[in-house]
Amino acid sequence: MTEIFLDGRYIGSTNEPEKLVNDIREKRRNGLISNQINVAFHPNQDEIKILSDSGRARRPLIIVKEGKPKLTQEHIDKLRRGEIKWDDLIKNGIIEYLDAEEEENSYIALKVEDLISEHTHLELDPSIILGLSASFIPYPEFNRGDRVNYGAKMIGQSIGLFATNYQSRVDTKSNIMVYPQVPLVQTHAHKIINYERHPNGTNVVVAIACFEGYNMQDAIVINANSIQRGLFWTYMFRTYEAEQRRYMGGQEDIIGIPEPGVRGYAGEDTYKHLPEDGIVNPETRVNSDDVLIGRVSPLRFLGTMDQFITGIENIRETSVRLRHGDSGIVDRVFLTETVDGTKLVKVVVRDLKISEIGDKLASRHGQKGVIGLIVPQEDMPFTQDGIVPDIIFNPHGIPSRMTMGQLLEIMAGKVAALSGKQIYSPAFNPTSEKEIRNLLEAYGFRNDGKETMYDGRTGKKFEAQIFIGNCFYQKLDHLVSNKIHARSRGPVTLLTKQPTEGRSKEGGLRLGEMEKDCLIAHGAALALKERFDSDKTTIPVCSECGLVAINDRIKNRKYCPVCKESKITDVEISYAFKLMLDELKSMLIYPKMVLREE
């Protein structure tokens, strides 16, 4: 007996599972029962699962009978003419949606040519095996698989026009490209998702050549004039917010210019660009650590009685400042209320990011690189037509990675630029290489995409023919200006007196455990000591009991609180170690320091 489950509930059993399942499917295709029902028969578990609940991922497939797809040319023509619609195909049992469970019972062909009599379904298109990002890659079947994967990953990091209403959004951080373009070489996916409304890159002229070694190891040489014309300009928007909170006892934050005398008051200069309401005006130029929203808050952690004293001494400055290392122009200011009814201020700061050395660019074929050199146009190589490339890409990036798709895209892009028409090359169904070569020839170019080029600095002809064409490039969200960081001296943490961590806190760069081992292995004892000196302190130690003594600076006297009158020695020690001694003492372990004369 085969057990039957409806949405996980047991509802009965049957002796003819195959027949039942086929009946249900037949009725669904004929429209007798809802097309949202899926049914699966698992012979191994001997159970039938019927699913009708919400939240299942389902996908459309063409139904196949005796090795022939039910969708015919007739249907396609009718669809084109607008006589029938997608829904009609489902109603007539030509296309059906399968969920994960029913897929187990099906045998799906990828292409029409592959169909044999055992097949039950056919994919709408072979390129459907790719995800959203991967289906934006033209000629993916000419690349090695991992490159398509990398390419798809980097499409997700690219800066474009992610939403057309970005002016009224307050994302914590977002990037917008200034002059985005639609790629010259497209896939079906671009059409389907309305790509023209949110493009994510620019078409550039790429020459595959070396340039003075400044594009070795995947670096990219870029044309300075192209940048000046707006190539890869992006805006970074960052939202800062401040809330006027209410606390117990009727106290609340005050948004406004803090009064002098408030704890943490940073001086008149800090607040001088703030208008009366304490919130910066739009289009104000702001720099690192500038106050955007002035605010004061009542002190927390007060004694029970202190809470009711509302004098200026019990108020602390809690202004919102621009992130350390950032700068920009205040773009928009929003004033609103939270759900609790408190005042909420959001300030959006915009910063123009013009491409510079170290910014990361990538094509759609997993070919990424950082800008290595910005060259004035007059020094760049040029073709006999006077075409100067925007980007020079190193030829060593091609053989080992085998991204033939990129080469085809460059050639196809060249044809597209010459003809003024976009070229469609989706996965498994591309515009053929032969066709592109013929078109190139028809436009009077070599059919291999190469051209004679001249050195911009000397005017001399290059001996080699250089492969040049148009390719779609993306600027990825890894900009040097958001990452650059260095420190000599700087802030330390309160507890350990060691340097802070991270760029936003102006932190130090840690010399880790393994790096330490390297210094030891080299026997560089004094270099090692110097590196770990960051938290060194001199503490007075009682030579009798071996505990930390007291240095009374007012009386200029050092004494031990345990032994009173005894010999005190100053010892240089890392503060972290002193902390550990304190912790041991708190655990009732007596760490006695035995001092040795130096």
Partner: protein, 372 residues
């Protein structure tokens, strides 16, 4: 024999180097004077190659082994689906060696035969003799007769019924064994439940009929002129009892077994050879001296100590260094209870407090003697 001149260098240079020099001198027909110059040069570069006082050999050894080992991680576990003897390779094996695991994942023996017994026939015979056979391997069927509370065994070869009965009788008491229609029928004495009967069945299946316990499978192999027996499963003590086996060369890959049977020096050599072999199999070139140091450290105390918190690292003299490594609280509490003293002679404790470490350039102090 060494000649007069090189002999005087014996204290300063290893014998093997002196012998090499002599060989070269003979080949090139060098004069006494030139020979002395050559040996002086050799001595210079030999001394240059030596570690200097204050050199941190331990850290250098650790780095020299672990850096290539990181490359190994990516290349292991590529044996899925391969046929034949599967021995633990690569990083898992290296970890096994340095952790001094009681029992390797795949214990393996290499059995050499004495010269006069070395033939294919003899090797094959010994191989067949030592492989462990259990009841499970020599029967066609085993079934429980629940109504009578007995177990029936049908042997593969009815002629071997005697050995089966003997093996079962040796291992199990409280049973009566009968033979009926080429089947062995085992009836436990007294009343037993079905659960107990099932347990008895399990025990019977696992009973050894012949061979040496622990040796699961055997392969014979020709290496050079010799026949060698490779086994999976290890039992050195029993194998060495076989007359034909050459006890001077036969080894196992179980470090503890090696130490038990042949002593700690053999275990040290095994650690060095196995670790080096594992690294070289992966195409990693590590100098033998680094591995030797590890082998030495693991065996100095006379017993095998793993590299880790229960072995070498746990035996550090400094409390702070131990506490910084693993099980901080355990070490601190133990030290405080026993009133232990940390003399700050190691490296880690000095790094912790921010003092100059006593190695490398920080190794030496100046001691000056003042006139009265």
């Amino acid at each position: 024999m060494l000649e007069e001149l090189p002999k005087s260098y014996l204290g300063e240079l290893p014998r093997s180097i002196i012998e090499e020099v002599e060989e070269v001198a003979k080949e090139r027909r060098l004069s006494e004077e030139k020979k002395e110059r050559l040996i002086e040069e050799v001595k210079k570069s030999y001394l240059k190659g030596k570690f200097e006082p204050g050199e941190t050999v331990g850290i250098i050894a650790a780095q020299s082994i672990s850096e290539p080992a990181t490359q190994m991680t990516m290349r292991t576990y590529h044996f899925a689906g391969s046929a034949g003897i599967k021995v633990t390779y690569g990083l898992p094996r290296l970890i096994e060696i340095f952790d001094a695991k009681r029992e390797p994942e795949t214990p393996v023996m290499t059995i050499f035969l004495k010269k006069r017994f070395n033939s294919r026939k003899r090797a094959k015979k010994i191989a067949e003799e030592i492989v462990e056979k259990k009841i499970f391997d020599v029967i066609r069927r085993i079934s429980m007769n629940l109504s009578e509370g007995s177990i029936e065994i049908e042997p593969l070869n009815p002629k071997r019924i005697g050995t089966i009965i003997k093996a079962i009788k040796e291992k199990m008491r409280d049973i009566t064994v009968r033979v009926k229609a080429k089947k062995v029928i085992i009836i436990p004495k007294g009343k037993v439940s079905i659960g107990e009967l099932r347990k008895i069945r399990e025990r019977i299946i696992e009973t050894r009929v012949s061979g040496i316990s622990g040796i699961a499978s055997v392969v014979i192999r020709m290496e050079g002129e010799e026949w060698i027996i490779n086994t999976i499963g290890s039992n050195l003590e029993e194998v060495l009892k076989i007359e034909e086996v050459d006890e001077t060369r036969t080894i196992t890959n179980n470090i503890h077994e090696m130490a038990r049977v042949f002593g700690i020096e053999a275990a040290r050599n095994l650690i060095i050879n196995e670790a080096l072999k594992t690294l070289q199999e992966q195409g990693l070139d590590v100098d033998i001296r680094h591995v030797m140091l590890v082998g030495d450290i693991m065996t100095v105390s006379g017993s095998i100590k793993p590299i880790g918190r229960y072995g070498v690292a746990g035996a550090k003299t400094s409390i702070l260094a131990r506490a910084a490594f693993e099980e901080t609280i355990k070490h601190l509490v133990r030290a405080s209870v026993r009133n232990e003293v940390d003399n700050f002679q190691g490296i880690f404790e000095n790094v912790m407090v921010g003092q100059v470490i006593p190695s490398g350039t920080g190794m030496f102090d100046l001691v000056a003697k003042f006139e009265e």
